[in-house]
Symmetry: C2
Subunit: 460 residues, 2 copies
């Protein structure tokens, strides 16, 4: 081991390695993009030599969180319409905005805005599925986040893909150019769903993913209605249908899976399929509650996702952790279901497995990428602390994340973003949210600041 670039020390270190106890006080040494040492040190004198030291000040040092499902550019539609029936929400608001207002530049800036929220919430890896995904890749690269960017595929006209028959050709080109975006980004494909993608499209997209060795994402069994309709059309359950098309393997990520049937669980487990669980979105859209305890009991790898800000309305994995830990207790009538440590594992190590990134991220261990966060516990709502896992899941908030590092590079220090220009984003957001309101003939957005916000608070 040479001289470390950074040693992060003086915190409660949660490695998230299987069965590893907290190390207290612990440190992590980082050289280049990788972790070179993890250990215990009661004083600065015991630390390995390093060019720089970051004092975690008694906080929690843990792997950065992994958001396994998002539609990042949809931050533009955050709170645009809520509490509506799904059809009105889609047809009166989201589809018109996507088809008539969104463009590549807006996707780029929306992704930057989403990246700012993710970094400030302790996320270091995000999986996205959307359109104009090339712009998503560029923005994520500029943000410094690790990501899996999946080009959307659907058998309907879509943003950037006016001709559905071009969807696979475009997705194939998208995968080919993946390596241009550097080692932090994996390019993949997101087929919207079995009810918007025909069997040939699904098979073609999966074939492209298989050849490239990258994840294939698919919304599946999100609503009871789609499962019923699929059964009427095919006499099959959701997973059985995908299996007949040959889509199920260890690089397939099923998103939502709310209405998976008992035979589906077994099939997903046997095929090593991964599942992304998005509880806040599932509740807000009244979709239902995914059978997560059953999936875990079958050995299926499950991660947490926020879904997009149009249906959540935030990209906050702390909220997903708190809800996942509580929700399944009440549906199973058992307060021991999904204990805090398990839920934190879903948000880190298991999330990395969902995305096929377990070799890179999700635990703090020698040889892994230095993707880590420091959570400040010196706060009223985190006092006292008996159990750091409990605190992270049941009491902490994303705003408690103090420092964020991805692949050895600081993306946030002391809650200040280091790779993104908040003022530039905020200025665009003000302009474009008014434009979008006008476009949709909504009442104007409530921004009192146009005239008198010259004394704007400092960027955050």
């Amino acid at each position: 081991m040479g001289m470390a670039d950074w040693v992060i020390w003086n915190g409660v270190l949660l490695t998230l390695k299987r069965d590893a106890p907290p190390i207290c006080p612990g440190f992590v040494a980082v050289e280049g993009t990788r972790i070179t040492a993890v250990g215990q040190a009661g004083s600065q004198a015991e630390l390995p030599p390093a060019r720089d030291y970051l004092d975690a000040a008694g906080g929690l040092i843990l792997p950065g969180l992994v958001n396994t499902h998002c539609h990042l550019p949809m931050v533009w539609f955050r709170g645009l319409a809520d509490d509506l029936p799904l059809n009105r929400w889609l047809h009166e608001k989201i589809f018109p905005a996507e088809s008539g207002w969104l463009d590549e530049e807006k996707v780029y800036w929306g992704t930057l805005l989403a990246a700012a929220e993710l970094i400030r919430g302790g996320v270091t890896t995000v999986a996205d599925g959307y359109f104009f995904e090339d712009a998503v890749r560029r923005a994520l690269k500029d943000s410094g986040l690790r990501g899996v960017t999946a080009q959307g595929v659907v058998d309907l006209p879509a943003p950037g893909v006016p001709e559905p028959r071009d969807n696979l050709k475009l997705a194939g080109r998208f995968l080919e150019s993946g390596p241009d975006y550097g080692p932090l980004l994996t390019s993949a494909i997101f087929c919207h769903s079995p009810y918007t993608c025909g069997p040939e499209t699904l098979k073609g997209a999966k074939k492209l993913c298989r050849e490239a060795g990258v994840p294939f994402f698919l919304h599946l069994a999100e609503t009871a209605q789609e499962v019923q309709e699929l059964r009427q059309q095919t006499q099959m359950s959701s997973a059985a249908y995908l299996d007949r098309l040959g889509l199920l393997d260890e690089l397939t990520v099923v998103v939502h899976g709310v209405w998976l049937e008992p035979e589906d669980l077994d099939l997903l487990a046997r095929r090593w399929v991964k599942v992304s669980h998005c509880p806040e979105s599932n509740l807000k859209l009244a979709a239902g509650v995914a059978p997560v305890p059953e999936l875990l009991a079958q050995g299926v790898v499950v991660g947490l996702g926020t879904d997009g800000a149009a249906s959540n309305n935030n990209l906050d994995l702390f909220g997903e952790m708190s809800l996942a830990a509580r929700l399944h207790k009440v549906t199973k009538k058992d307060p021991t279901v999904l204990p805090a440590k398990t839920v934190l594992e879903l948000a880190t190590r298991e999330g990395a497995r969902v995305l096929g990134l377990e070799g890179q991220t999700g635990v703090l261990a020698v040889g892994k990428a230095a993707d880590l966060i420091v959570v400040d516990i010196n706060q009223a709502h985190l006092t006292p602390m008996f159990d750091p896992y409990s605190h992270l899941v049941y009491a902490a908030r994303s705003s408690d994340v103090r420092h964020v590092m991805v692949a050895g590079r600081w993306l946030m220090r002391d809650r200040t973003l280091l790779t993104l220009d908040w003022r530039a984003m905020a200025a665009r957001a003000r302009l474009w949210s008014e434009e979008l309101s006008t476009f949709l003939r909504n009442p104007p957005s409530l921004d009192p600041g146009r005239a008198i916000r010259e004394n704007e608070p400092e960027p955050v």
Copy 2:
């Protein structure tokens, strides 16, 4: 109207008055403890004259939140034990800690710690029910919060009440001394539950409350088991049993009400009984989901509560709002149930009605107390903003609260607490959490800072 002491201006003003639209840009004028004007002003020149001005910088100005149920001093047990069956949690952890470790001084300091969390989370009014409630009153008075402090009553030995036969005598004295604690605090009684308080205790406590004209709080129908047992013993539903004892009127607050039966809803509505809904606690303890949409449809007044930090594990009403808005959508399979604005009303105006404080707080209107908060929206996770109600419920976090005023006095400015000494609380918390771990023979709490936290972060 004389000269105002404060004008809070340049924000989106949500008065929470029934059917009142947002005022943008809006202002509130405050003289002494009261609101003297509410209006619209596009520039500082249009504002009423005032000794001081607070620029909300484009944020949301709204009534402070009302937490209708808490056990404040139980912050000492936050995360002490989670994910356990109820009986083990109570008998191995909570009861031993309460009977052998807790004392009046710890209740006082625990309440201060809880008050710090509440203020930093935008709560301006809290209802507490616990033991050593005199110490709770002193601490809340020192914090500057508005509160309803309810002395716990139970037919078992309790902290500060070793002889259960003294419980009503002590509660009566507690009510008598209420006025000594000033106009912001109401002293009341909290009977733990029908399964820990016999009929004579319940009737005696309610009689004391009726004579004093103050709320009577009671955990009711929290678990399916207690409802079954009550029916076996009395052949009655929960509310019917209380009604037979003559306990139901407009100053009775039923807490939880998860397993209220259809006939109960009607009875509660006819008797003007109020309900405190605590969804995060109900889920975490696997209690169930309260029939809130049904209660609201019957016209029952419902507020939100956090319950204590031992079962939540936070005192964050933003979390309760987000969960309440989502949870009932999925249980009712309807995304239009409990829209954001309704949920914000439960957390403010309706919460004030639950506590009988609607004359004082819960809306921003001339003559009401100046209990208000400013929420900073100049942040990535709140950009863009189309609907302030949606933002507060689905996207904002308690950490977005920037300023807090109660009865014309600032309790927090720019996230700095003005009435509480964080360092003194943190020092005690460190000492006492270790003492509690030792007492319970738990592994020592994970505080890495004893030796090396001299460089402690600034108080928050």
